[in-house]
């Protein structure tokens, strides 16, 4: 981005002032006020942060949060990439059908979808019953109330957030590049590795970051599909506020999460800038 373009966009951004003011009043201020409580509630100081780190629980939960977010991001990309490619390659009519299915899942209540997974995955659920009756397994698989359940449920929810940006990236690629590669005798795998993948990297980065950051703060799905051993940070924050009435400690936990997220975002921006 050069300086002229920046100032141009800045001038044009005037139309966005009401939106920015709205965000400031209803988002930035309250979040700031909450963050402030991490050092003022119950008194000035860093005691909330030392409380937070006094036991291994917080570190364990933090580690678990990042682990789940990483696994979910990876799974979403692995499933979402082929799906996005399919969306680009299909004839227009089928594209719309597939897109509708994808979007429809987004419009259904998160809670309803999570409960649906509970019904599917539990010991007496549809999946285990089918596998049992077919004889693939002898005893029901533990698919829920553990890490597996959380990853399945969250990957499903995150899928549209991977597929939509990736599709946008892939749709802008010139098909002639692939043709050229094929004419020169490249195998499909080689075409993917040397042409498609490098060209779609920015899209993968953006989609991956979005899913990773969204996953870090997820609450409902891990709470319902996970066990207490897989607790994520959002649940811990809810616990400190609701159970211990300790807003200061909750704010401290939230602040750490926010900083981690911002750091990741900064890293990503830098990486993208170098890339461009």
């Amino acid at each position: 981005m050069n300086a002229a373009a920046t100032s141009g966009t800045f001038r044009e951004a005037r139309a966005a002032w009401p939106a920015i003011a709205f965000l400031f009043v209803f988002f930035a201020l309250p979040v700031g006020a909450l963050m402030l409580r991490s050092v003022t509630d119950p008194q000035w100081g860093l005691q909330n942060f030392s409380d937070l780190l006094a036991t291994g629980t917080y570190a364990r939960v933090l580690f678990n949060t990042f682990l789940v977010a990483a696994v979910v991001t990876l799974m979403s990309l692995l499933i979402g990439y082929p799906l996005a490619w399919l969306l680009v390659m299909l004839p227009a009519r089928w594209q719309q059908v597939l897109l509708a299915i994808l979007l429809m899942s987004m419009w259904t209540s998160l809670l309803a979808r999570t409960y649906a997974w509970l019904v599917l995955l539990q010991k007496t659920g549809v999946i285990n019953r089918i596998l049992l009756s077919v004889g693939v397994i002898d005893a029901p698989l533990p698919l829920v109330n553990n890490l597996t359940g959380v990853v399945i449920g969250m990957t499903y929810i995150m899928l549209p957030f991977v597929v939509l940006p990736l599709r946008a990236t892939l749709a802008t690629l010139d098909p002639a590049l692939m043709h050229a590669g094929a004419v020169c005798g490249a195998s499909p795998w080689r075409l993917f590795r040397s042409v498609l993948l490098p060209l779609s990297l920015p899209g993968i980065g953006a989609a991956g970051l979005m899913v990773f950051v969204m996953s870090l703060g997820y609450y409902v799905t891990p709470a319902l599909l996970g066990g207490t051993g897989n607790m994520m940070l959002a649940e811990l924050i809810a616990q400190t506020v609701q159970s211990f009435l300790n807003w200061g400690l909750g704010a401290a936990a939230a602040l750490v999460l926010l900083c981690a997220t911002l750091a990741l975002y900064a890293l990503h921006m830098r990486y993208l800038d170098e890339d461009a």
Binding site: G56, G125, T228, S243
Partner: protein, 340 residues
């Protein structure tokens, strides 16, 4: 355009101000846990209160202690009567979050003395019972809390209440052979050691609906439950049963947050809710027991055997004063242990 928007905004703000002013005068807000219990509370108390006093009762929920404290701290109290768990009622009273009840309006003469104190009065009286699903459990049927910890006798997952709150630790100690009169002060080391012995077989339920889902589906063929949730399952035809041996009794409490704008109406509402009729109506809808001793005559005879009040002989009452004293300390240890 700008002016128009300003006018519109102004009008909207005025409208909001006007309605909230109107609401403050002739309505109160009752907050409870949602679901079938709050529906029953609305039918038994709120609808009658509206008819009698011409004051609207707005329903809100679910009860959220973080929100509760934030309201009182900020002085912006939107709730007037709140249904809370017993340990919270006692702790909140100690923290100065509650209005004292006005016993010149609320008649406490006939209230079970276990379930009334200066800042709170029983909403309904319930027990933790051992529930099981005979179709999912195999040949052995549990008969005591000890069986809940005996995975050799009865294999499979067992489900427990997820939050740090009176109940689970007491059950672990009883299962380990502690005599009921020696329960308090709780031997936490012993309780957690007992829980450790079956930790990998424990499922947790965070809400009543979740507990019902786990038991009815057989995901957890046995566990600890609120007695009313077992009754609700039976009413729907689910094949579940309860063991009442050493059932653990306590009550939800009705409290008034400090700074409630409709204190007088709130007291009248609580008076109606804890009257013999109000308590009997709620009990007949839920199979939770009344806290008013005079309600007995008004109860549905078919339901009485399913109520905690009929299982008093082996009943143990949870010690709420102990919990008010140690709630935070136990909570910390509880969640650390759970997350391990």
């Amino acid at each position: 355009m700008g002016v128009k928007i300003k006018r519109l905004l102004g009008a909207a703000i005025l409208a909001i101000g006007a309605t909230s002013g109107a609401l403050a005068e002739d309505s109160i807000t009752f907050t409870s846990w949602g679901g079938t219990t709050q529906d029953a509370q609305k039918a038994a108390w709120a609808d009658k209160f509206e008819a009698e006093y011409k004051v609207k009762v707005l329903q809100d929920g679910p009860t959220d202690y973080g929100k509760f404290k934030a309201m009182v701290d900020s002085g912006q109290v939107d709730w007037d009567v709140v249904d809370v768990e017993p340990d919270f009622a006692y702790q909140a009273a100690k923290m100065g979050l509650l209005e004292p009840l006005d016993f010149s309006v609320i008649d406490k003469k006939d209230i079970d003395p276990r379930f009334v104190f200066e800042h709170g009065i029983g909403s309904f009286y319930f027990s933790f019972v051992l529930g099981y699903n005979p179709q999912a459990i195999g040949d052995q049927v549990p008969t005591s809390w000890a069986d809940l910890f005996d995975t050799a006798k009865i294999p499979g997952k067992r489900t427990f209440y997820k939050w740090a709150s009176p109940g689970v630790l007491e059950i672990a100690l009883l299962a380990d052979g502690v005599a009921p009169d020696k329960l308090y002060p709780l031997d936490l080391d012993r309780a957690f050691a007992k829980l450790d012995s079956i930790k990998k077989d424990i499922l947790w339920w965070g809400s009543g609906a979740e507990s019902q889902q786990q038991l009815a589906s057989g995901e957890a063929p046995l566990g600890m439950f609120w007695n009313g949730r077992i009754y609700a399952l039976q009413k729907e035809g689910a094949p579940v049963d309860a063991v009442w041996e050493q059932n653990l009794a306590t009550a939800d409490f009705l409290v008034v947050p400090k700074g409630s704008k409709n204190k007088e109406a709130a007291m009248k509402f609580i008076a109606l809710a804890t009257s013999a009729q109000g308590q009997a109506d709620l009990a007949n809808a839920t199979a939770y027991a009344p806290v008013n001793l005079k309600s007995e005559a008004l109860l549905n005879k078919d339901l009485v055997p399913l109520m905690p009040s009929q299982h008093a002989e082996t009943q143990i009452t949870l010690d709420l004063n102990y919990w008010a004293e140690h709630r935070d300390e136990i909570g910390k240890r509880w969640y650390d242990w759970q997350a391990k």
